[in-house]
Protein backbone atom coordinates (compact mmCIF):
# COMPACT_ATOMS: atom_id res chain seq x y z
CA UNK A 1 0.00 0.00 0.00
CA UNK A 2 1.39 3.36 -0.94
CA UNK A 3 0.76 6.41 1.20
CA UNK A 4 1.76 8.99 -1.38
CA UNK A 5 -1.65 10.60 -1.21
CA UNK A 6 -1.18 11.25 2.49
CA UNK A 7 0.52 14.47 3.52
CA UNK A 8 3.17 14.09 6.27
CA UNK A 9 1.77 17.15 8.03
CA UNK A 10 -1.66 15.55 8.00
CA UNK A 11 -0.30 12.44 9.76
CA UNK A 12 1.35 14.59 12.44
CA UNK A 13 -1.77 16.74 12.81
CA UNK A 14 -4.03 13.70 13.11
CA UNK A 15 -1.68 12.18 15.68
CA UNK A 16 -1.91 15.37 17.73
CA UNK A 17 -5.71 15.38 17.48
CA UNK A 18 -6.06 11.72 18.46
CA UNK A 19 -3.61 12.07 21.34
CA UNK A 20 -5.37 15.13 22.75
CA UNK A 21 -8.70 13.30 22.42
CA UNK A 22 -7.17 10.57 24.60
CA UNK A 23 -6.03 13.12 27.19
CA UNK A 24 -9.41 14.88 27.10
CA UNK A 25 -11.21 11.56 27.64
CA UNK A 26 -9.09 10.87 30.70
CA UNK A 27 -9.67 14.41 31.90
CA UNK A 28 -13.38 13.81 31.36
CA UNK A 29 -13.27 11.06 34.00
CA UNK A 30 -11.63 13.45 36.44
CA UNK A 31 -13.36 16.74 35.65
CA UNK A 32 -16.60 15.63 34.05
CA UNK A 33 -17.52 12.87 36.47
CA UNK A 34 -15.58 13.32 39.72
CA UNK A 35 -15.24 17.14 39.37
CA UNK A 36 -11.49 17.06 39.94
CA UNK A 37 -10.07 20.11 38.16
CA UNK A 38 -6.77 18.60 37.01
CA UNK A 39 -4.78 21.41 35.40
CA UNK A 40 -1.63 19.31 35.45
CA UNK A 41 -2.41 17.05 32.49
CA UNK A 42 0.81 18.09 30.76
CA UNK A 43 2.79 17.14 33.87
CA UNK A 44 1.66 13.50 33.81
CA UNK A 45 1.94 13.35 30.03
CA UNK A 46 5.39 14.96 30.23
CA UNK A 47 6.59 12.55 32.91
CA UNK A 48 5.61 9.67 30.66
CA UNK A 49 7.35 11.26 27.70
CA UNK A 50 10.59 12.04 29.54
CA UNK A 51 10.82 8.84 31.58
CA UNK A 52 10.36 6.96 28.32
CA UNK A 53 12.92 9.14 26.54
CA UNK A 54 15.56 8.95 29.26
CA UNK A 55 15.25 5.18 29.62
CA UNK A 56 15.19 4.65 25.88
CA UNK A 57 18.22 6.81 25.14
CA UNK A 58 20.37 6.63 28.28
CA UNK A 59 20.01 2.96 29.23
CA UNK A 60 21.94 0.30 27.40
CA UNK A 61 19.22 -2.32 27.02
CA UNK A 62 20.27 -5.93 26.55
CA UNK A 63 17.43 -6.56 24.11
CA UNK A 64 16.23 -4.89 20.95
CA UNK A 65 12.90 -3.69 19.59
CA UNK A 66 10.05 -3.99 20.24
CA UNK A 67 10.99 -5.08 23.78
CA UNK A 68 12.99 -1.94 24.39
CA UNK A 69 9.98 0.20 23.57
CA UNK A 70 7.65 -1.97 25.65
CA UNK A 71 9.97 -1.91 28.69
CA UNK A 72 10.47 1.86 28.52
CA UNK A 73 6.78 2.57 27.88
CA UNK A 74 5.76 0.30 30.77
CA UNK A 75 8.19 2.08 33.09
CA UNK A 76 6.93 5.49 31.90
CA UNK A 77 3.33 4.40 32.54
CA UNK A 78 4.14 3.15 36.03
CA UNK A 79 6.11 6.27 36.99
CA UNK A 80 3.32 8.56 35.68
CA UNK A 81 0.79 6.49 37.64
CA UNK A 82 2.89 6.77 40.81
CA UNK A 83 3.17 10.52 40.24
CA UNK A 84 -0.61 10.59 39.93
CA UNK A 85 -0.89 8.68 43.18
CA UNK A 86 1.40 11.15 44.95
CA UNK A 87 -0.29 14.27 43.52
CA UNK A 88 -3.71 12.75 44.18
CA UNK A 89 -2.76 12.01 47.77
CA UNK A 90 -1.68 15.64 48.21
CA UNK A 91 -4.68 17.32 46.56
CA UNK A 92 -7.60 14.88 46.66
CA UNK A 93 -9.13 16.36 49.79
CA UNK A 94 -8.61 19.98 48.75
CA UNK A 95 -11.35 22.14 47.24
CA UNK A 96 -11.41 22.98 43.52
CA UNK A 97 -9.03 25.93 43.91
CA UNK A 98 -6.55 23.79 45.80
CA UNK A 99 -6.66 21.00 43.22
CA UNK A 100 -6.22 23.52 40.41
CA UNK A 101 -3.20 25.20 42.00
CA UNK A 102 -1.69 21.91 43.17
CA UNK A 103 -1.86 20.21 39.78
CA UNK A 104 -0.69 23.34 37.98
CA UNK A 105 2.26 23.51 40.38
CA UNK A 106 3.06 19.87 39.70
CA UNK A 107 3.10 20.47 35.94
CA UNK A 108 5.40 23.45 36.42
CA UNK A 109 7.72 21.37 38.60
CA UNK A 110 7.92 18.71 35.88
CA UNK A 111 8.83 21.34 33.29
CA UNK A 112 11.49 22.85 35.56
CA UNK A 113 12.96 19.42 36.30
CA UNK A 114 13.06 18.50 32.63
CA UNK A 115 14.79 21.80 31.86
CA UNK A 116 17.34 21.79 34.67
CA UNK A 117 18.32 18.10 34.72
CA UNK A 118 20.03 18.43 31.39
CA UNK A 119 22.47 15.56 32.04
CA UNK A 120 19.50 13.26 31.83
CA UNK A 121 17.00 15.09 29.67
CA UNK A 122 19.14 17.28 27.45
CA UNK A 123 17.49 20.32 29.09
CA UNK A 124 16.69 23.20 26.79
CA UNK A 125 18.75 21.58 24.00
CA UNK A 126 16.26 18.76 23.81
CA UNK A 127 16.77 15.03 23.53
CA UNK A 128 17.04 13.08 20.32
CA UNK A 129 17.77 9.43 19.59
CA UNK A 130 14.24 8.05 19.90
CA UNK A 131 12.79 5.83 17.23
CA UNK A 132 9.93 3.60 16.26
CA UNK A 133 9.90 0.08 17.67
CA UNK A 134 9.63 -1.24 14.11
CA UNK A 135 10.77 -0.31 10.64
CA UNK A 136 8.38 -0.89 7.79
CA UNK A 137 10.09 1.36 5.28
CA UNK A 138 9.86 5.09 4.85
CA UNK A 139 9.49 7.51 7.76
CA UNK A 140 5.99 8.37 6.57
CA UNK A 141 4.98 4.70 6.63
CA UNK A 142 6.33 4.30 10.15
CA UNK A 143 4.52 7.44 11.26
CA UNK A 144 1.27 6.30 9.68
CA UNK A 145 1.44 2.96 11.48
CA UNK A 146 2.16 4.80 14.73
CA UNK A 147 -0.91 6.96 14.10
CA UNK A 148 -2.95 3.79 13.66
CA UNK A 149 -1.56 2.40 16.92
CA UNK A 150 -2.26 5.56 18.95
CA UNK A 151 -5.76 5.59 17.46
CA UNK A 152 -6.23 2.03 18.73
CA UNK A 153 -4.98 3.06 22.19
CA UNK A 154 -7.31 6.07 22.29
CA UNK A 155 -10.12 3.84 21.00
CA UNK A 156 -9.49 1.56 23.98
CA UNK A 157 -9.57 4.59 26.31
CA UNK A 158 -12.87 5.67 24.73
CA UNK A 159 -14.28 2.19 25.26
CA UNK A 160 -13.11 2.22 28.90
CA UNK A 161 -14.66 5.64 29.52
CA UNK A 162 -17.86 4.49 27.80
CA UNK A 163 -18.06 1.47 30.10
CA UNK A 164 -17.28 3.56 33.19
CA UNK A 165 -20.28 5.75 32.34
CA UNK A 166 -22.52 2.70 32.46
CA UNK A 167 -21.01 1.04 35.51
CA UNK A 168 -21.50 1.38 39.28
CA UNK A 169 -17.98 2.83 39.36
CA UNK A 170 -19.13 5.66 37.05
CA UNK A 171 -22.10 6.38 39.30
CA UNK A 172 -19.73 6.40 42.26
CA UNK A 173 -17.47 8.95 40.52
CA UNK A 174 -20.48 11.18 39.77
CA UNK A 175 -21.67 10.78 43.36
CA UNK A 176 -18.25 11.74 44.72
CA UNK A 177 -18.12 14.72 42.36
CA UNK A 178 -21.56 16.07 43.12
CA UNK A 179 -21.79 15.51 46.89
CA UNK A 180 -18.72 14.01 48.53
CA UNK A 181 -19.87 14.13 52.19
CA UNK A 182 -23.07 12.35 51.21
CA UNK A 183 -21.10 9.73 49.28
CA UNK A 184 -18.94 9.19 52.38
CA UNK A 185 -22.03 8.74 54.52
CA UNK A 186 -23.18 6.01 52.13
CA UNK A 187 -20.18 3.84 52.81
CA UNK A 188 -18.03 5.00 49.91
CA UNK A 189 -14.28 5.52 50.52
CA UNK A 190 -14.20 8.74 48.53
CA UNK A 191 -10.53 9.58 49.12
CA UNK A 192 -9.43 6.15 47.90
CA UNK A 193 -11.76 6.45 44.91
CA UNK A 194 -10.23 9.78 43.87
CA UNK A 195 -6.71 8.49 44.47
CA UNK A 196 -7.27 5.46 42.26
CA UNK A 197 -8.78 7.65 39.55
CA UNK A 198 -5.76 9.95 39.69
CA UNK A 199 -3.36 7.02 39.42
CA UNK A 200 -5.13 5.30 36.52
CA UNK A 201 -5.74 8.49 34.51
CA UNK A 202 -2.17 9.70 35.09
CA UNK A 203 -0.69 6.37 34.05
CA UNK A 204 -2.67 6.46 30.81
CA UNK A 205 -1.62 10.09 30.23
CA UNK A 206 1.99 8.99 30.75
CA UNK A 207 1.62 6.21 28.19
CA UNK A 208 0.28 8.71 25.67
CA UNK A 209 3.29 10.91 26.46
CA UNK A 210 5.61 8.00 25.67
CA UNK A 211 3.81 7.41 22.37
CA UNK A 212 4.15 11.09 21.54
CA UNK A 213 7.91 10.87 22.23
CA UNK A 214 8.21 8.08 19.68
CA UNK A 215 6.20 10.03 17.10
CA UNK A 216 8.28 13.22 17.35
CA UNK A 217 11.55 11.37 18.11
CA UNK A 218 12.88 14.51 19.74
CA UNK A 219 11.87 15.69 23.20
CA UNK A 220 11.59 19.42 23.66
CA UNK A 221 10.88 21.03 27.05
CA UNK A 222 8.83 23.60 25.14
CA UNK A 223 6.16 20.89 24.86
CA UNK A 224 5.74 20.93 28.64
CA UNK A 225 4.08 24.35 28.69
CA UNK A 226 0.41 24.90 29.28
CA UNK A 227 -0.49 24.11 25.64
CA UNK A 228 -1.28 20.41 26.05
CA UNK A 229 -3.42 20.93 29.17
CA UNK A 230 -5.17 23.86 27.53
CA UNK A 231 -5.91 21.86 24.38
CA UNK A 232 -7.42 18.95 26.34
CA UNK A 233 -9.32 21.25 28.69
CA UNK A 234 -10.73 23.51 25.97
CA UNK A 235 -11.74 20.58 23.79
CA UNK A 236 -13.49 18.90 26.69
CA UNK A 237 -15.28 22.04 27.87
CA UNK A 238 -16.34 22.93 24.33
CA UNK A 239 -17.75 19.47 23.66
CA UNK A 240 -19.26 19.06 27.11
CA UNK A 241 -17.42 17.87 30.22
CA UNK A 242 -20.22 15.50 31.22
CA UNK A 243 -20.48 13.66 27.90
CA UNK A 244 -18.28 10.84 26.63
CA UNK A 245 -18.35 12.23 23.09
CA UNK A 246 -17.81 15.78 24.36
CA UNK A 247 -14.05 15.24 24.41
CA UNK A 248 -14.03 13.87 20.86
CA UNK A 249 -16.24 16.57 19.33
CA UNK A 250 -14.55 19.40 21.21
CA UNK A 251 -10.99 18.38 20.37
CA UNK A 252 -11.83 17.86 16.69
CA UNK A 253 -13.31 21.37 16.58
CA UNK A 254 -10.36 22.99 18.33
CA UNK A 255 -7.11 21.08 17.85
CA UNK A 256 -8.38 19.60 14.60
CA UNK A 257 -9.23 23.00 13.23
CA UNK A 258 -5.90 24.54 14.21
CA UNK A 259 -3.45 21.68 13.72
CA UNK A 260 -4.93 20.28 10.55
CA UNK A 261 -7.16 22.73 8.71
CA UNK A 262 -5.31 25.97 9.46
CA UNK A 263 -1.76 24.60 9.59
CA UNK A 264 -2.05 22.26 6.63
CA UNK A 265 -4.57 23.72 4.27
CA UNK A 266 -4.67 27.51 4.65
CA UNK A 267 -2.22 29.37 2.39
CA UNK A 268 -0.52 31.37 5.12
CA UNK A 269 2.96 32.92 5.00
CA UNK A 270 5.62 30.41 6.06
CA UNK A 271 6.91 32.45 9.04
CA UNK A 272 3.46 32.44 10.58
CA UNK A 273 3.73 28.73 11.34
CA UNK A 274 6.63 29.16 13.72
CA UNK A 275 5.68 32.49 15.27
CA UNK A 276 2.10 33.66 14.89
CA UNK A 277 0.13 30.40 14.71
CA UNK A 278 1.26 28.87 18.04
CA UNK A 279 0.49 32.11 19.88
CA UNK A 280 -2.77 32.56 18.01
CA UNK A 281 -3.69 28.96 18.84
CA UNK A 282 -3.33 29.42 22.59
CA UNK A 283 -5.12 32.79 22.46
CA UNK A 284 -7.99 31.27 20.49
CA UNK A 285 -8.21 28.33 22.88
CA UNK A 286 -8.30 30.66 25.88
CA UNK A 287 -10.98 32.78 24.22
CA UNK A 288 -13.00 29.68 23.34
CA UNK A 289 -12.83 28.55 26.96
CA UNK A 290 -14.18 31.90 28.17
CA UNK A 291 -16.95 32.09 25.57
CA UNK A 292 -18.12 28.53 26.20
CA UNK A 293 -18.11 28.95 29.97
CA UNK A 294 -20.09 32.18 29.66
CA UNK A 295 -22.65 31.19 27.05
CA UNK A 296 -22.82 27.41 26.98
CA UNK A 297 -21.28 26.07 30.19
CA UNK A 298 -22.54 22.54 29.51
CA UNK A 299 -20.73 22.48 26.16
CA UNK A 300 -22.01 21.79 22.66
CA UNK A 301 -23.41 18.38 23.56
CA UNK A 302 -25.01 19.68 26.74
CA UNK A 303 -25.77 17.75 29.90
CA UNK A 304 -25.77 14.01 30.27
CA UNK A 305 -28.56 12.23 28.46
CA UNK A 306 -28.91 9.55 31.08
CA UNK A 307 -32.67 9.10 31.01
CA UNK A 308 -32.62 7.29 27.67
CA UNK A 309 -29.74 5.17 28.84
CA UNK A 310 -31.52 4.27 32.07
CA UNK A 311 -34.60 3.37 30.06
CA UNK A 312 -32.53 0.95 28.02
CA UNK A 313 -30.87 -0.56 31.06
CA UNK A 314 -34.16 -1.14 32.82
CA UNK A 315 -36.07 -2.20 29.75
CA UNK A 316 -38.50 0.69 29.60
Amino acid sequence: MTLDWLDAFLITGLFEVVMVIGLALLLHLQLGLARIANFGVVGFWGIGMYVFGVLYVQVDWPFGEPWQFLACAAAATVVAGLAGLLVGWLVADLDTDGVLVGTLGFATAVQILATTQDDLTGGARGMGGLGFPYDIGRVKDNEFLWLVLVTAVVGAILLYVWRVHRSPYGRLLIAVGSNEPLARSLGKPTFRTKLWLFAVASAAMGFLGAMYGVMVRFLDVGNLGVGVTLAAMVGLVLGGTARVWGAVVGVVLTVGLFDIVIQSYLPLPREWYTQAIPVLREAAFGLTLMVVLLFRPLGLLGDMRRDRLMGKIHGR
Binding site: P168, R171, L172, I174, A175, G177, S178, N179, P181, L182, A183, R184, S185, L186, G187, K188, P189, T190, A242, M304, R306, D307, M310, G311, H314, R316
Partner: protein, 238 residues
Amino acid sequence: MSETAGPSVLEVEGLRSGYHGVTVLKGLDFCVGPEIFAVLGANGAGKTTLLATLARLIPLMAGTIRFQGEDVSALPPYDTAGRGVGYVPQEKGVFPDLTVLENLSVGGMIGRRSRDERMAEVLALFPDLRALQAQPAGTLSGGESRMVACGRALMQDPRVLLLDEPTAGLSPLYVDMFFDKIREIHETRGVAIVLAEQNATKALQVADRVMVLSLGQAYAVVDAAELTTQQLKEGYRI
Protein backbone atom coordinates in the same frame (compact mmCIF):
# COMPACT_ATOMS: atom_id res chain seq x y z
CA MET B 1 -32.47 9.64 82.05
CA SER B 2 -35.03 7.11 80.67
CA GLU B 3 -33.96 3.60 79.68
CA THR B 4 -34.29 2.02 76.24
CA ALA B 5 -36.93 -0.66 75.80
CA GLY B 6 -34.44 -3.16 74.33
CA PRO B 7 -30.70 -3.59 73.81
CA SER B 8 -28.92 -0.38 72.87
CA VAL B 9 -28.18 0.14 69.20
CA LEU B 10 -26.28 3.38 69.78
CA GLU B 11 -24.53 4.41 73.00
CA VAL B 12 -23.08 7.88 73.29
CA GLU B 13 -20.85 8.93 76.21
CA GLY B 14 -19.37 12.35 76.88
CA LEU B 15 -19.77 13.36 73.24
CA ARG B 16 -18.19 16.69 72.32
CA SER B 17 -17.93 17.89 68.76
CA GLY B 18 -18.17 20.99 66.61
CA TYR B 19 -16.58 22.83 63.73
CA HIS B 20 -13.19 24.52 63.38
CA GLY B 21 -12.42 24.39 67.09
CA VAL B 22 -15.84 25.72 68.15
CA THR B 23 -17.55 23.24 70.47
CA VAL B 24 -21.21 22.78 69.54
CA LEU B 25 -22.05 19.59 71.45
CA LYS B 26 -20.86 19.95 75.01
CA GLY B 27 -20.79 16.47 76.47
CA LEU B 28 -23.82 14.36 75.56
CA ASP B 29 -24.70 11.03 77.17
CA PHE B 30 -27.58 8.98 75.82
CA CYS B 31 -28.40 5.65 74.25
CA VAL B 32 -30.81 4.61 71.53
CA GLY B 33 -32.57 1.27 71.53
CA PRO B 34 -34.71 -0.37 68.85
CA GLU B 35 -37.04 2.62 68.86
CA ILE B 36 -37.80 6.03 67.39
CA PHE B 37 -35.63 8.46 69.31
CA ALA B 38 -36.51 12.10 68.66
CA VAL B 39 -33.97 14.87 69.14
CA LEU B 40 -35.82 18.14 69.66
CA GLY B 41 -34.41 21.60 69.98
CA ALA B 42 -34.51 25.13 68.69
CA ASN B 43 -32.34 26.44 65.85
CA GLY B 44 -28.69 26.21 66.83
CA ALA B 45 -29.29 23.60 69.52
CA GLY B 46 -26.88 21.20 67.78
CA LYS B 47 -29.29 18.69 66.21
CA THR B 48 -27.62 18.68 62.78
CA THR B 49 -24.15 18.57 64.35
CA LEU B 50 -25.22 15.61 66.49
CA LEU B 51 -26.51 13.58 63.55
CA ALA B 52 -23.51 14.43 61.35
CA THR B 53 -21.22 13.40 64.23
CA LEU B 54 -23.09 10.12 64.69
CA ALA B 55 -22.67 9.53 60.93
CA ARG B 56 -18.94 10.22 61.52
CA LEU B 57 -18.90 13.11 59.06
CA ILE B 58 -17.66 15.44 61.81
CA PRO B 59 -14.73 14.29 63.98
CA LEU B 60 -15.28 13.90 67.72
CA MET B 61 -13.51 16.29 70.08
CA ALA B 62 -14.09 13.92 72.99
CA GLY B 63 -16.27 11.02 74.05
CA THR B 64 -17.22 7.73 72.46
CA ILE B 65 -19.90 6.41 70.11
CA ARG B 66 -20.70 2.72 70.28
CA PHE B 67 -22.78 1.10 67.57
CA GLN B 68 -24.14 -2.30 68.51
CA GLY B 69 -21.51 -2.51 71.23
CA GLU B 70 -18.58 -1.64 68.95
CA ASP B 71 -16.65 1.60 69.40
CA VAL B 72 -16.97 3.45 66.08
CA SER B 73 -15.60 6.78 67.35
CA ALA B 74 -12.44 6.58 65.29
CA LEU B 75 -13.86 4.90 62.20
CA PRO B 76 -14.15 6.78 58.91
CA PRO B 77 -17.72 7.48 57.79
CA TYR B 78 -17.71 4.82 55.08
CA ASP B 79 -16.85 2.13 57.63
CA THR B 80 -19.60 3.36 59.94
CA ALA B 81 -22.09 3.29 57.07
CA GLY B 82 -20.94 -0.20 56.16
CA ARG B 83 -21.79 -1.37 59.67
CA GLY B 84 -25.40 -0.20 59.29
CA VAL B 85 -25.67 3.51 60.04
CA GLY B 86 -27.88 5.26 57.47
CA TYR B 87 -27.87 9.04 57.30
CA VAL B 88 -30.30 11.44 55.63
CA PRO B 89 -29.05 15.02 55.81
CA GLN B 90 -31.40 17.97 56.04
CA GLU B 91 -30.14 19.49 52.79
CA LYS B 92 -28.30 18.14 49.78
CA GLY B 93 -29.50 14.63 50.44
CA VAL B 94 -29.39 13.53 46.81
CA PHE B 95 -26.85 13.43 43.99
CA PRO B 96 -28.34 15.97 41.57
CA ASP B 97 -26.53 14.65 38.46
CA LEU B 98 -27.78 11.11 38.96
CA THR B 99 -31.29 9.93 38.18
CA VAL B 100 -33.61 8.79 40.96
CA LEU B 101 -32.87 5.17 40.14
CA GLU B 102 -29.14 5.79 40.13
CA ASN B 103 -29.38 7.59 43.47
CA LEU B 104 -31.06 4.54 44.93
CA SER B 105 -28.52 2.24 43.27
CA VAL B 106 -25.61 4.16 44.77
CA GLY B 107 -27.16 3.61 48.21
CA GLY B 108 -27.43 -0.08 47.43
CA MET B 109 -23.71 -0.57 46.73
CA ILE B 110 -23.29 -1.87 50.26
CA GLY B 111 -25.52 -4.37 52.02
CA ARG B 112 -25.89 -8.12 51.83
CA ARG B 113 -29.36 -8.60 50.33
CA SER B 114 -30.01 -8.39 46.61
CA ARG B 115 -30.17 -4.85 45.31
CA ASP B 116 -33.31 -5.57 43.30
CA GLU B 117 -35.06 -6.81 46.41
CA ARG B 118 -34.15 -3.69 48.35
CA MET B 119 -35.10 -1.48 45.41
CA ALA B 120 -38.53 -3.12 45.22
CA GLU B 121 -39.03 -2.49 48.95
CA VAL B 122 -38.07 1.17 48.65
CA LEU B 123 -40.35 1.70 45.64
CA ALA B 124 -43.16 -0.01 47.54
CA LEU B 125 -42.57 2.33 50.47
CA PHE B 126 -42.41 5.43 48.24
CA PRO B 127 -44.58 4.53 45.20
CA ASP B 128 -44.38 8.11 43.91
CA LEU B 129 -40.75 7.43 42.98
CA ARG B 130 -41.72 4.82 40.39
CA ALA B 131 -42.76 7.46 37.88
CA LEU B 132 -39.65 9.53 38.59
CA GLN B 133 -37.04 6.80 38.21
CA ALA B 134 -35.40 8.20 35.09
CA GLN B 135 -35.55 11.81 36.21
CA PRO B 136 -32.34 13.55 37.39
CA ALA B 137 -32.60 14.08 41.14
CA GLY B 138 -31.56 17.71 40.73
CA THR B 139 -34.93 18.43 39.07
CA LEU B 140 -37.11 17.03 41.86
CA SER B 141 -39.29 19.01 44.28
CA GLY B 142 -38.33 19.25 47.95
CA GLY B 143 -40.66 16.45 49.01
CA GLU B 144 -39.57 14.17 46.19
CA SER B 145 -35.91 14.80 47.04
CA ARG B 146 -36.54 13.81 50.66
CA MET B 147 -38.19 10.60 49.51
CA VAL B 148 -35.19 9.80 47.33
CA ALA B 149 -32.76 10.65 50.14
CA CYS B 150 -34.67 8.46 52.57
CA GLY B 151 -34.98 5.64 50.04
CA ARG B 152 -31.26 5.88 49.25
CA ALA B 153 -30.41 5.49 52.95
CA LEU B 154 -32.79 2.53 53.25
CA MET B 155 -31.05 0.84 50.30
CA GLN B 156 -28.08 0.45 52.68
CA ASP B 157 -30.17 -1.87 54.87
CA PRO B 158 -29.36 0.25 57.93
CA ARG B 159 -29.80 -0.87 61.54
CA VAL B 160 -30.16 2.73 62.60
CA LEU B 161 -31.40 5.60 60.45
CA LEU B 162 -30.36 9.17 61.25
CA LEU B 163 -32.99 11.57 59.89
CA ASP B 164 -32.13 15.25 60.04
CA GLU B 165 -35.32 17.33 59.94
CA PRO B 166 -36.86 15.28 57.11
CA THR B 167 -39.95 17.48 56.90
CA ALA B 168 -38.33 20.94 57.11
CA GLY B 169 -39.85 23.23 54.50
CA LEU B 170 -42.32 20.66 53.18
CA SER B 171 -46.05 21.15 52.60
CA PRO B 172 -48.40 19.80 55.33
CA LEU B 173 -49.42 16.94 53.05
CA TYR B 174 -45.82 15.75 52.72
CA VAL B 175 -45.22 16.30 56.46
CA ASP B 176 -48.05 13.93 57.42
CA MET B 177 -46.94 11.39 54.83
CA PHE B 178 -43.36 11.49 56.05
CA PHE B 179 -44.21 10.92 59.70
CA ASP B 180 -46.41 7.98 58.67
CA LYS B 181 -43.49 6.59 56.66
CA ILE B 182 -41.09 7.01 59.57
CA ARG B 183 -43.38 4.94 61.79
CA GLU B 184 -43.84 2.38 59.00
CA ILE B 185 -40.07 2.05 58.40
CA HIS B 186 -39.50 1.43 62.10
CA GLU B 187 -42.34 -1.04 62.53
CA THR B 188 -41.99 -3.08 59.34
CA ARG B 189 -38.20 -3.10 58.98
CA GLY B 190 -37.17 -2.95 62.63
CA VAL B 191 -34.86 -0.01 61.99
CA ALA B 192 -33.97 2.18 64.96
CA ILE B 193 -34.51 5.83 64.08
CA VAL B 194 -32.86 8.94 65.42
CA LEU B 195 -35.09 11.79 64.30
CA ALA B 196 -33.90 15.39 64.64
CA GLU B 197 -36.93 17.68 64.44
CA GLN B 198 -38.13 21.17 65.19
CA ASN B 199 -41.73 20.14 64.76
CA ALA B 200 -42.13 18.85 68.32
CA THR B 201 -45.86 18.09 68.04
CA LYS B 202 -45.43 15.79 65.08
CA ALA B 203 -42.23 14.23 66.38
CA LEU B 204 -43.82 13.38 69.71
CA GLN B 205 -46.66 11.58 67.91
CA VAL B 206 -44.26 9.01 66.44
CA ALA B 207 -41.36 8.96 68.93
CA ASP B 208 -40.87 6.43 71.72
CA ARG B 209 -38.31 8.51 73.59
CA VAL B 210 -37.08 12.04 73.20
CA MET B 211 -34.02 14.13 73.96
CA VAL B 212 -34.44 17.88 74.24
CA LEU B 213 -31.23 19.51 73.13
CA SER B 214 -30.46 23.01 74.31
CA LEU B 215 -27.29 24.86 73.30
CA GLY B 216 -25.42 21.62 72.75
CA GLN B 217 -26.46 19.99 76.02
CA ALA B 218 -29.14 17.40 76.78
CA TYR B 219 -31.78 19.27 78.72
CA ALA B 220 -33.96 16.17 79.11
CA VAL B 221 -33.95 12.55 77.93
CA VAL B 222 -37.38 11.04 78.67
CA ASP B 223 -40.11 8.81 77.29
CA ALA B 224 -42.07 10.78 74.70
CA ALA B 225 -45.29 10.35 76.63
CA GLU B 226 -43.71 11.81 79.77
CA LEU B 227 -42.31 14.98 78.24
CA THR B 228 -44.04 17.98 79.77
CA THR B 229 -44.81 21.23 78.04
CA GLN B 230 -42.72 22.97 80.69
CA GLN B 231 -39.66 20.83 79.84
CA LEU B 232 -40.17 21.52 76.17
CA LYS B 233 -40.49 25.27 76.69
CA GLU B 234 -37.43 25.44 78.91
CA GLY B 235 -35.47 23.28 76.48
CA TYR B 236 -36.45 25.54 73.59
CA ARG B 237 -35.72 28.56 75.84
CA ILE B 238 -39.17 30.00 75.16
